[in-house]
Symmetry: C2
Subunit: 241 residues, 2 copies
């Protein structure tokens, strides 16, 4: 929310504003500990770094923030909760992520690039279609029932922040589009091999599976019992027959 401080500072506080902005992005030269992020990686990329380096691992911080948002939700997680759990000061948080919303978006992006992406990678290696789809669903359920049933961060985000937050809508929609396309390709190939019937087209079947997975992740919150949900996966898979 609002304008971000550091952006202006970079323009007005430069050592010599008349020096032309050249050189490699500083992000390539950073020492290992300090992963650049957000404002920094965008704004300072015109100039050599000439300042104190970040003391904490940004990605690790995002990961811990994701944990907190995941179990408590956005509104119920305060900035002080976050700073304590990440082990950084409030100034550092705002310098690195802009505001609470920026950190939330970073956490959601981290969720996409780690957990959701890993599930899709495993899908590509799948042998039998049914086994691959079953593995995808059960793995996601396994994660969702953890921590007392925290569900799926993306589904939680949708339920808490839509229809208001259109950025979240776009991000989660992209995530699910990626899942659907991966599944579509998997099903299309399987149908060509004659492993599944042609009763429904692959795209519709993939959409069905994505939506059914959403339901599984909600049910996993209501009743965090993976074994109780397994038979439902069996039923869903009969749609491939």
């Amino acid at each position: 929310m609002g304008t971000v401080g550091p952006r202006l500072a970079i323009v007005s506080n430069r050592a010599n504003p008349d020096v032309p902005l050249t050189g490699e992005p500083v992000t390539a030269r950073r020492p290992t500990g300090a992963t650049p992020f957000l404002d920094r990686s965008i704004q300072i990329s015109y100039r050599e770094a000439m300042a104190r380096t970040r003391a904490f691992d940004t990605e690790a911080a995002v990961s811990r923030a994701m944990d907190l948002f995941w179990t408590r939700g956005y509104e119920a997680t305060s900035v002080r909760d976050l700073t304590q759990h990440l082990g950084i000061g409030q100034g550092s948080l705002y310098a690195a992520f802009g505001d609470k919303d920026g950190l939330y978006r970073a956490a959601l992006e981290h969720y996409r690039s780690t957990l959701a992406a890993a599930a899709l990678r495993d899908l590509a290696e799948g042998a039998d279609v049914r086994a691959a789809v079953r593995a995808l669903l059960t793995e996601r359920v396994r994660i969702a029932v953890g921590q007392g049933g925290r569900g799926c961060l993306a589904v939680n985000a949708v339920c808490e922040r839509l229809p208001e937050d259109t950025a979240t809508r776009r991000t989660v929609r992209d995530m699910q589009d990626a899942s659907r396309e991966a599944l579509t390709e998997l099903l299309r190939a399987a149908r060509e091999r004659g492993e599944i019937a042609a009763r429904h087209d692959p795209h519709t079947l993939a959409s069905f599976l994505v939506t059914f997975l959403n339901g599984l992740l909600v049910s996993a919150k209501i009743t965090p019992d993976a074994r109780a949900l397994e038979p439902l996966v069996d039923v869903a898979l009969t749609a491939l027959d």
Copy 2:
């Protein structure tokens, strides 16, 4: 949260504490406008009413509160938002519902007793099984895509407030148990008539449908387009074949 004021007041402020507590519950004698609620209906039921009657319609207030919680969620809805939208003062709200959480639980209960219950009533009148199930799912989707895609209050509640809020878990679980049992009965009768195959038992099929409905309601928030979700219902119904 915390102890509720009026309960103590009833004990300590009675005109004559030595009069034995007898008589009909006052709830039966109330004038039409003032529906009793919560503390009142429980605590004062020992005695004849002898005080100012409530000026606003409690059920209408709960209905409007439900609207607000439904579109914005629990945390993002402030007590002042509520009082303005209900047209009552803060004192009245706290006198009638205890606290914000009490009003939320009342709203969730109202949701159960109106929308969710209506869907199940329609189910009982169903002719053909498939048509009845399809009608249930599409009707719920139709409501969920409304208002820009506010989804289902129960699913939203689960995603925002679990695993922390166990009262919500119990309420929503009860709601879904009721749906599952109604569907189980419907499917069991249909199987006896030979309308559906015996590949999966009715109970598992019903659980599958409830979970799939959860997914539909999430997808309805992400993409509030009822027509795009219809084909997925078709796929789900093939599980009955």
